[in-house]
């Protein structure tokens, strides 16, 4: 079974991430990637993961692209999900102090800002 971008986004909106698990080598990857990145098999099972994990790195943007003017400053972070698969997205934090590396974040949706993350301890809005 293959996942469309539309289905992938629908799950993000429920705070979940669709992954593929390779039947041949068990590799896990985002379900937007159609061959296994490790062994190139396309025998892939769909796995649903809770969109929770830890901050790998991030930035706070002060000079935004169009459409983000109203949010600046805001964050963008790379996150390692609990499955070990990485994803990234918009996060509404105003200062680097509010988002320590390795702190826990989760996906809360997908909208005009893209993939939207939230800091779990509630220290950010």
């Amino acid at each position: 079974m293959s996942v469309s971008r539309e289905e992938f986004i629908a799950k993000l909106n429920e705070g979940k991430v669709l992954l593929y698990r390779c039947r041949r080598c068990s590799n896990l990857q985002l379900a937007t990637i159609v061959f296994c990145r490790r062994c190139n098999s396309d025998a892939l099972d769909v796995v649903e993961e809770k969109g929770e994990g830890r901050v790998v790195t991030f930035t706070i943007l002060y000079v935004p692209p169009e459409g983000y003017e109203g949010y600046a400053p805001y964050g963008w972070a790379v996150v390692r999900l609990d499955s070990g698969v990485n994803i990234s997205g918009f996060i509404d934090v105003k200062s680097a102090k509010d988002l320590p590396l390795d702190s826990r974040v989760r996906i809360v949706g997908y909208d005009g800002r893209g993939i939207v993350l939230k800091a779990e301890d509630g220290s950010s809005k």
């Binding site: 937007t32 790195t57 930035t59 692209p65 169009e66 990234s88 997205g89 893209g114």
Partner: protein, 384 residues
């Protein structure tokens, strides 16, 4: 494979320019043709490097540029690989000449974006990322490199001051380059006090948005010799690719495409990093130069910042990096940049670089990538 060389180069000034995209490309191409000592009609094919022609209302650039060069019967092709377009177009030209399809090929890179303004340019550039995960989730290119910088600083203990030293050095070099976009001496303090763009990067950690064009002429060495032309040899050419997104990098503090391209180029050239006399590398942000000089094999991982602190990479140091001023000071008209690096090497190896001349340089390397290094090309050149 035929041996390939560069027989001519030309560049416009880089900066906020009044000329349009076609005029810039034509001017740089004319200067390259004239410097080569050939007739325009000797050019048999052209690669045009450009990303945002649409922003200046001109795509399908090859026939327009060639017609204005009086070469309406000479075919060409536009190459787009984000900020790496120039070196990648050069690589395609190299491959065509090496394969014997053509004897003389023009590569011209051009960009015209400054008229669109900061917000529009930031948006356009973000289309060079994997837009679904990156640009479309609010991150700009300064933001992507800032994310690399944070990871790098956290792992290797580099500081904002260390990053700032790269900008200070490249601005020093750019002061000596009459065609550079930002010619201004700056201090570490200036960098640290400049406004934040994407933390931890500040205005003076970033290259500017620039307009400009650069062109070079490649020929088979046989052609150059039989026509008595001056030239520099291309002795190594490599290409590499990385995952398009930062999230998919095994190590966010390194760029795999640089390593792959460099390995191929060094192997072909039969030399090692220590044999290189100077390099033009892709310093779109201060952190990028630090990562580049490590990935190219010039310094061990985690030691790139040390090299700039100790002055090794300054003009007059053991391994000058970006004597032109680099993207930081010379400017970054993205389609032109990779071609401009080759133009710099051509001038340097022929001893024509004026005040910024790297004395006695015999072997030089160019390194240029697209986006966060998703596409990369490395070339190595030798004086004959």
């Amino acid at each position: 494979m035929n041996r390939v060389c560069v027989i001519g180069a030309g560049s416009t000034k880089y900066g906020r320019l009044k000329e349009g995209i076609v005029e810039l490309a034509v001017n740089a191409s004319r200067d390259a043709i004239k410097s080569a000592g050939i007739e325009a009609r000797d050019v048999q094919y052209a690669f045009i490097s450009n990303v945002f022609g649409v922003a200046d209302r001109q795509v399908h650039l090859a026939p327009v540029i060639m017609s204005d060069l009086g070469l309406m019967n000479v075919p060409g092709l536009t190459v787009e690989s984000a900020c790496g377009s120039g070196s990648i177009a050069f690589r395609e030209a190299y491959a065509n000449v090496a394969a014997g399809f053509y004897d003389v090929v023009l590569v011209v890179g051009v960009e015209k974006v400054t008229h669109t303004g900061t917000a529009r340019s930031t948006t356009l550039f973000s289309y060079c990322s994997d837009f679904f995960y990156e640009g479309g989730s609010g991150v700009s290119f300064p933001g992507l490199f800032a994310s690399m910088a944070r990871a790098y600083m956290n792992r290797y203990g580099a500081t904002e001051e260390d990053l700032a030293m790269v900008a200070v050095k490249n601005h020093e070099h750019g002061l000596l380059n009459p065609k550079a976009h930002i010619r201004k001496r700056i201090t570490v303090g200036d960098v640290l006090e400049s406004p934040p763009v994407a933390s931890p990067l500040k205005l003076l950690d970033c290259c500017p948005f620039s307009d400009g064009a650069s062109a070079v002429i490649l020929a088979s060495e046989e052609y150059a010799k039989s026509h008595g032309l001056e030239y520099v040899q291309v002795i190594g050419s490599g290409r590499g690719a990385s995952p398009a997104t930062l999230q998919d990098r095994e190590d966010i503090t390194a760029i795999p495409s640089t390593r792959a391209a460099a390995q191929q180029a060094f192997k072909q050239a039969g030399i090692e990093p220590k044999d290189v006399d100077f390099a033009e590398v892709h310093d779109c942000f201060t952190i990028a130069e630090i990562v580049d000089v490590e990935d190219l094999g010039f310094f061990p991982k985690g030691k790139g910042a040390e090299a700039v602190k100790q002055g090794v990479t300054r003009l007059g140091g053991d391994l000058p990096i970006n004597p032109s001023g680099g993207l930081k000071s010379k400017g970054h008209p993205i389609g032109a940049t990779g071609v401009g690096q080759v133009a710099e090497v051509y001038e340097q190896l022929l001893g024509r670089a004026g005040e910024r001349q790297v004395k006695g340089a015999e072997i030089a390397l160019t390194h240029n990538f697209g986006a966060t290094g998703a596409s990369c090309a490395v070339h190595i050149f030798r004086r004959v």
